[in-house]
Amino acid sequence: MGKIWKALSSLWLTVILLTLAGVLVFMGTMAQVKLGLYIVQENYFQSLFVMWGPQGANWKIPIWPGGYLLGGLLLVNLITAHVIRFKFTKKKIGIIMVHGGLIFLLIGQFLTEVYQVESFMALEEGSSKNYSENGRRSEVAIIDVTDPQTDHVVAIPESMLEPGREIRHPQLPFTVKIHEYALNTEPRLYGSELRFISTNQAVKMNDRNIPAATVEIKAEDGSKGTWKISNWLAEDRLVGLLLTNYSSRLPQGFSEPVQFEHKGRRYEMSMRPERYYKPFQLHLLDFTHERYAGTDTPKNFSSRVRLVRPETNEDREILIYMNNPLRYWGETYYQGGFEPGDTVSILQVVRNPSWLTPYISCVLVGVGLLVQFLSHLVAFAKKRSV
């Protein structure tokens, strides 16, 4: 037992793990050239092992320890070393601060990976929204629109869309049956029929998947119908793309949500980016995009928004600009981008419960290293001057 503890807390293990981690980071960086950032993140850094298989084969073997495994082992190594070997003395205070800060950083980053939710809010000047959207995940939204005042939304996340699956929900008096589902699609027009052809998963940094599904609504009294739904039909930008490509050949009202009735209630169904509703509204008053004189180089982007939250009686104006986000309701709103024409501002919305950990860790490690090295330096200088 003692041997295991000794090995777990040894500096040898530290050096080996750090070396493995160094190589992992290098491999993960080089792999991005081919695979793109997101796949590499999953495969190299947010994994226990880096898996590899020949192209086209359906088997994979682990070729290198992944980020989670190495991070976890380093954490164990660090903690056991401190428990077993270190005693709290004045001399060691720097080292303890450094390692405390590192533990904080590693755990904080792990929590971030698990709990962080990123979404965006595209606001046109003069418009308001009380939700943000996920740029990478979609949902099937079934909305009870009977009441003109309020909509009741049931959203089925993309991860539940498996062909053949029947989905029931206590608030839905019918069953949703998934016939087909594709993660990424391209539109094709056959005659006047629009089809969505399954295609490869998006790899590049700025590419995204555009899913589509064929869905049937089944009630006790029989099928209400089977429809093709897709983000292609729900997002303004994508609809615009379809219109410019196929223009008049598209059937009338092709992009309208699916509508059906059941037991005297009216429903709408569509596939759209996953939404996160908020108890407040943001209203975009003005978006500005300054450029340097005589160039196209952007100088600054800023969005003046009005935040309205009835329950707390809040109503105020806020200026969000580069490097100056709005932190509110546990979320942070950044000036993320804009759409051509400079009237639509895109705010990046991030919910990250552990956003403060790097700040604390930076101070702890920085001060710790400084204390440690300065005390070395002072001792060294004293020795020399004697």
Binding site: L18, T19, G22, V25, Y292, G294, V350, L369, L370
Partner: protein, 654 residues
Amino acid sequence: MKKESNRWQRWVPWALVAIFSLWVLSTIFPRKSKGEYNIREFAEIPVLLNGRIQPIDSVARNALLVFQGKQSVAITNAQGDKVKLPAIEWLLEVTTRPEIADTRPIFRIDHPEIKGLLKLDEQEKQFTFNQIKEGWGEIEKQARRITDLKIEPEVRTPFEKGIMKLNFSLGLYFRLKNSLQPESSGDFQEEISVYRDNIKNGLVALQKHQSNEEYNEEDLALMTRFFRRYQMMSQIAYPLAVPPRDLKTNPDGWVTIGGSLLESMRSGEIHPAVNAFAAMSTAYSKQKPADFNKAVGEYKRWIAENFSKANGKGHRESIFNYFQPFMKSMAIYVLAFILGCGYWFRWSGWMSRSAFYLTFLAFLVHTSGLIFRMVLEGRPPVTNLYSSAIFVGWGAVALGLILERIYKDGIGTVTASAVGFTTLVIAHNLSLDGDTMIMLQAVLDTNFWLATHVVVITLGYASTFLAGFLAIIYVLRGVLTKTLSAATSKALTRMVYGIICFSVLFSFVGTVLGGIWADQSWGRFWGWDPKENGALLIVIWGAIALHARWGGIIRERGIMIMALIGNIVTGFSWFGVNMLGVGLHTYGFMDQAFKWLMVFNASQLLLIGLALVPNKYWRSFELLNQRGTEKPQRPSDPDSGELLKGVRQPRPAH
């Protein structure tokens, strides 16, 4: 005899410092222009380009850098002597006497296939516009193929890269020619006065023509010709040379001369700046120095009165351009390096002292250049890759000089001068892309983060390179020479260890600060972006080195090898990741840099191989081996190391 030589040795270092100081100072204070033309004053005239106010001198220099990688043109004058034509005089020629400018060899072409395509002499490197102009259409055709096929810069062949560069250069040359006056204008001043007189009549004719009344055809035809001429000029002119009419309502409203002339159709008046430029151009083209100097002087006074800020900026940057602090410190570093190396072999104190003083002088010049740039830009020291090279060098030299003060063994000086020189060479090559003070993208436009994250991480690079260069000295001196004594090797190990400590501190804090900046600007502390990974690699490398050292896993030689690996890791982080072409931090691909980075990596691997050679082949350890008292084994631990004690380095007598 001995005393005399001592006296001689005492004043030589100071004499060297005095000579080089004079050389440096000689260019700071604005001299009167040598010739009849008051070129120096003309050079200061402010224009707006790349989103910033700069002296017209900078426009000229940066254009020449793009064309040929040098800031002056090598020409043969009327007497048959080889002389240098300053950038600003060349620009004056280009704009006012294009027929002469077309005979200046300013386009550098290296690729033999491009020379073949243009039927140029294989042996030559620099070509004139006249030599190339026949083939311009062909160049454009080739360039169009590359842009039509959307061949990305990273995958272009050297031939394609050369074509694109030449095509860009020719386009820029054409734009410069039409910047101060239309290329074909013989007497621009006269042309403008005709234009001014015509505006009123022309407009009347136009109005009448539009309302189907009878009009003067000649007036309208002239007006139309002027309109076409100035419209074209406004589209192709390069710098925005004409200041805004109203500074208060539209401070950024600088326009080109052509643009201002078009605007005159509306106002009926010629902008005073246009009149002034026309006077200068015409005087220079007709070779009337007195008229030229008068026009320049009057315009400068007018600018100083109405646009004092822009005038000040032009004045300061022009001084900076003539000062060329980095070129000067580069030269002094080289001399210091040679003297410092000489000291080890000849062991003469004056060499060591001279090397130290000169390195310090070069460092002062380097520092003043750095601060001058900061003042000009109103920014922290590092804003782009170019300035990072300057700052890496600065930081490494500062640390090296501190080491020299502590150890006084010449090592700090040699390393400092070597790193200072190398980084300035890198910076010079990075400057060949053109303007190095270009404005910052919105997300980078924050002095707080530039002053913290960027400065700290760059100091991390500087210290890692310094440790790596010390290791190079250790290996080279140890294996190839007999000069690495036990004391020296112990001292070197201490230095490297201490500097690695600093580099870990800077790299870690810098990396985390970068993460915090990212969190501030787009809500992601860490995104596994290549540049972030590069920074992380330096931190991991440092952590490995320190833990391995503390665990006794590596000792003297091990830490040297780690320092050499540090060179490769830092090279990758600083440059390598920018070449991958992915992620948020890509600043553009540097073709030449890739080759040199590979050469650097190979050299470091070679040195690591050398470091791994068994002790008995290290010339510095020969004595020890001959004695046979100790088995050849790895050098001792610096803290407890007894192994090399008693080995004395034979010193040549003074």
